[in-house]
Symmetry: C2
Subunit: 172 residues, 2 copies
Amino acid sequence: MANIAVIITDLFEDAEYSEPVAAFTKAGHTVVTVGLLAGAVVTGKKEETRVTIDRAVSDVSVDDFDALFIPGGYSPDKLRVDDNAVGFVREFMKRSLPVLSICHAPQILITARTLTGRKITGYKSIIQDIKNAGAEFIDRAVVEDKNLISSRNPGDLPAFIETSLRKLGSGT
Amino acid sequence: MANIAVIITDLFEDAEYSEPVAAFTKAGHTVVTVGLLAGAVVTGKKEETRVTIDRAVSDVSVDDFDALFIPGGYSPDKLRVDDNAVGFVREFMKRSLPVLSICHAPQILITARTLTGRKITGYKSIIQDIKNAGAEFIDRAVVEDKNLISSRNPGDLPAFIETSLRKLGSGT
């Protein structure tokens, strides 16, 4: 089964963290929360879901994981200013390990300069940013482009989870 | 004196609204809040400053104003999904009317596709988005490029307000 890093900080979109993580763990995968400070508790933007950070991004290696999951909300905006977070995300893309992106998650993929020539979807507010990054924006519930799986918003969660589980099951 | 449209919605950065608006009105300018719904009360993200929206963006014309002010925080992310808001901002840029941009405000200028070849600063999380939009990012407290005045964050407010007041005083 896969060991999945979930990169997350405050103001994440609650359901975009909770529902995939519940489905991944139920399927037997291991989930490790990676954030700016180990032991910190971060909070979702709507329901104030509280998540404890297992490992600091400054203190982990991509070698420890099989896949990366990036929940949306305003968490990616806060993570993309941190060089370690950006470097961590870039390395997953570079190694073509499964990267599961939803909502505003493409923001950190943009800062990591990993989207040129890729097919991706994301939250409607960042469509122009995705296009300007050299990616092809596709307005669909889930887009699968090699290692990269992406969805637009919480309404896409069933399709996102189904496609992600298939990828995690076969690819790792 | 100038009639200034302030385009704003929920989760704006409190000080980036309050301090410039206080300075602009003190100097004798008129400030009109423009948002998604007239009469709605929108709330800042830190101090929960409450601001009543004077006019709906679907119901205003750039002809009614001399200048545009775009406070930061997550307000621009929410505004850039609204076609009327994007069109309103685009028109100020097209007419070279003064546009005062701080923090995340360049996000809506990006969606309006108005930044190609322009010099601008903004919040550090969106630097790559600004560059990908074809603009030159300048890491300075305030950047003045023809009609466009921009700053990075609340720490830049004194320089932002001083430069904006000079622009409003001479340019309108």
